[in-house]
Symmetry: D2
Subunit: 335 residues, 4 copies
């Protein structure tokens, strides 16, 4: 059994709490920390967690806790990872680790020194459909991969207040896709070209961000990737991938709440896809946390490493630079 | 080159005329007969046919004509087949041959005596999707066939005047499905059970006909078939088939005018299927006539024989009796 | 909070135990009974249940238990329902209640006298896709329903030992479909015609059972239903439904483990559908149990009543008789 | 009736000949010219064309011919257009008009002076699925268009000898997609970025060409387009499009030879898509030629103009430059 503490009891924190408390038999959620006392207490009450505090350091000081799940604000991630590593705690950390490479590097160095485990929250790697694509690549079902196309569109833009602190489309939203590109093709990326625009909502543009973007990736193995990001898709969460290779092509479709198709006098139609990530990726969130618990208890490598977390940020920064300078940007050897 | 005469220049007659005149290089349509002079002349003018008459016997007397395509009213089919056979003409005849077995038998006997060729217009056998199902059965792709399910629904009922002379749902509409069942499973049928109702339009019931029917077929090889007929499907022509066998299952889908799928804020939808048989089965009509021309010129057996035409009528009559007596009806050995 | 006891810790019992112990917050599973002591203990240990016994009566005598979940052998259901009702316990009972109407009637009478709640385990009613069909009927999305077609095929026959005690295809397997037909069309059924055969495995025939069946249903509202049952579908669990109505048609598709489609040099293909009911209907099992717990705690009617459980058995018996006598069987007014 | 002459009796020339001779009632194909005498004669014999010559000028000199269909080698197109215009003949010309803008401009100027009609062979505009996308844009079904994604992959590379004279992937293959992008979004394109590689066959690289390419388009209306080109897709001709807009998304699927889906013990599969353009776009070739004949006879504008033909070449040249210089290329005002 693994005793865990949860740091940050917001939407995603409570999701992890539910899984740890109810659906992962080898895990025991023993403490919740949130700077908002009510949030910590509410979460603890809902999931039967014995301890609720406001200071996460209490969890790092608790010798009964072996691992922490970090779901606090992004700008606290790196600091908490460092402190947790020094306290000998294993860490599951939501993405992104940080928006600056220097702080990421410091955090990863601390983890390396401590010899603890770190898993970054790229949950989509655990989704059955994306895994099936990776399996097809691994097993040669489509031969050598030549082209990757990722579609990742949110149903509607987040609140402007969120956008302002999010790091922008490339580092907040597309970062999942940068990781997915690396995961699916299993190759480094040498060059990035991004173009983008403000098509959905001019208010997003006034904050200096974009809401629509296309990114072209050149992989070291010669494959070419494209990522399609939009902050708005009125029909729901649009999450698809396609890989063309020398031996075939594999693609995924969106997930739907039911399989019913209705034909009437106007059209053949079905209900809209699952609306957003909490519904679409429910199962992958459970699987990533189960994998983290297993990795700690069985002392195996985590399936999404600190390096993976860093690499996605590198690509996000390069994409942002490419968009601003309207030119392809090489990814240096330090990547 | 095969010189043909067309008897009956209604909707289906003109369709065959178009194919013979333009798209079947080995055929030459040299005469059109229709009891309505205008119809014969109009058809001849449209497709560049040199001769238009009102009496079909003129075509049977013409030594330059080797074959006739019979698209006249159903109650003239058997008579024309007999006369054509006596005149040494090969015959393509629209379904059904006739609604009474005695007249069918007489017509088939005349054809046998003359040694001429006869093909019955079960065009669906030439449709690429149904052919693919038969191919799967023939090649063992689904093992031994166990279950057949046919769906055959018209977009809307025909005019009441047509229904009155049509022979009723079982002999007019379901007859295509009885033939398809025999074609796909390639086995005789021993027993039929039909149930039916008047659900679409009470006026159809007042004419003594039904508009909705289910027929269960027991094949000699043990397979069980079901046929779903309706005179109304507001979404368009619904023509599907499914076969389950010991090694798998194969099924077809409807045909659509385009492949576009539109997702908006209400649903994921596409345009309705092709509305009716003229659009849905265009290609199969061309292929059946090409096959007939080839069979005559190359002296090979026709792909839909007089026996096939008779067998479908036997099943239609049995289904009608089963429905009226509400009991399974055995198909006798004479079938 | 509702305290429940589980009677019968076999495959389906353990599934319910998992849901009650972990995923239904308002439920507390406090005892497990199984005639096999090891089964009771193993189940209790796995799901943290404090009490494990061999005699179910201990659960009925326990004043802390308000409801029992009956997953024991079919021939014990009616007896346990009666005793539980007399003990004032609410009952969730797996289908079928019993195979004889007299025993079912006695059990339902006991429940009526006690005023306790009874829910029968027709879990498919809680599946999102079937619910969507019922919703379409309820909301008039397809107008008046005319035709229902249900496909229900198992991936492979159960062990012969199971078949011998199962009640046969009509009462063991098709009973789910009889309930689904009533649920989807929301109308009584007046007449049943069944035909069947032994196509999958002759050993099933030697036990007096069939492995392939077609049942035709005549609903009181005029609609006609067909049910397609097979004990074998090599591609996996095949569970589909289609309803045609005056205003349109709605149909469901099978459920798949992922959405990936792979096109290679031979075909366009995807992985097989979910293999069997434990995977296909996982969510519906959770939802039916949650609904039962809610019905008891909130004192609302259960969504699958004793009458529903009885009606499905009536249809199963009528279907069996129809098959044996090869004639349509009327459902009497006592139904 | 329109009398036409065909110049160039290769594969695509014979396809047009078949349509003109048999399926376009208002057209009469009266002469065929091909530098290879046998080709001209063979084509004339097959389609019943009275005159076959080797010198196309004979057709331009023939006062009975009102229009010519130019299917000769690409480097002869511009010259023939000019001469035909001077001779007062309307021209249908296969794409591309030419690979150099100066020659295109000279040809278009000649057409303008003569006041004759010119239609360029971008047949895909006449395909039912692409037309449905354009209709959705025109009618506002997807709101303002934001993103266009085109997939255009050939089943296998053409012979190296063809590639050598083709103008390369961007001007030979992608030119259809550049036109489709303009057609679907109905907006000018301001900037192009292309990246490409030699992944399919190194021999293609040794000829200085690429076999895999991604092109990013910035439209004047703010929309962003991406084009995915590959010279190889082992599963067949892959031709798809998707447009995301403020009100929804519309996408097309590939075309298949039949609708049958087979589920066996390994997978759920269907036959491969139509293999190449002759099968996939048959209907669109007929429709474009019918439209040309109608435009001439009815004196209406052609639906694919000389300007359209020029614009696609401009984009092809810009894409090639972008790929070579690895930077975005602006399309100047002369475009």
């Amino acid at each position: 059994m693994l005793n865990l503490g949860l740091i940050g009891a917001g939407r995603i924190g409570r999701l992890h709490a539910a899984h740890l408390a109810r659906q992962i038999p080898r895990a025991r959620l023993v403490a919740v920390a949130d700077v908002v006392e009510e949030a910590a207490r509410g979460c603890a009450a809902e999931y039967g967690v014995p301890c609720a505090v406001t200071a996460y350091r209490a969890l790092l000081d608790d010798p009964d806790i072996q691992a922490v799940v970090v779901c606090s604000a992004t700008d606290t991630h790196a600091q908490i990872i460092e402190e947790a590593a020094r306290a000998g705690k294993h860490v599951f950390c939501e993405k992104p680790i940080d928006l600056t490479l220097a702080r990421i590097d410091a955090a990863l160095a601390a983890v390396a020194r401590a010899g603890t485990k770190l898993q970054v929250g790229f949950n989509r790697r655990f989704d059955a459909s994306y895994r099936r694509l990776r399996q097809a690549v691994d097993q040669g079902e489509i031969g050598r991969p030549w082209r990757l196309h990722l579609i990742s569109r949110d149903p509607a833009p987040p609140p402007l207040a969120y956008i302002q602190v999010s790091g922008g489309l490339f580092l907040d939203m597309a970062i999942h896709d940068f990781d997915m590109a690396r995961f699916l093709i299993d190759s480094d990326i040498d060059e990035v070209f991004s173009t983008a625009g403000v098509l959905v909502d001019e208010a997003i543009g006034r904050l200096g961000d974009v809401d629509t973007a296309v990114t072209v990736l050149k992989f070291s193995n010669g494959a070419i990737g494209t990522i399609d990001n939009s902050r708005s898709a009125v029909y729901g969460y649009d999450q698809r991938a396609e890989i063309l290779g020398s031996g075939g092509m594999i693609s995924t479709a969106n997930a739907f709440p039911n399989s019913a198709t209705l034909s009437d006098s106007r059209s053949v139609h079905r209900d809209l896809p699952l609306n957003f990530f909490m519904e679409r990726y429910t199962q992958s969130y459970l699987m990533e946390m189960t994998a983290f618990v297993d990795a700690v208890l069985d002392d195996t490598p985590t399936l999404v490493t600190g390096h993976d977390g860093r690499a996605a940020v590198v690509l996000g920064l390069a994409a942002l630079q490419s968009y601003r300078e309207n030119r392809p940007v090489r990814i240096g050897p330090s990547f």
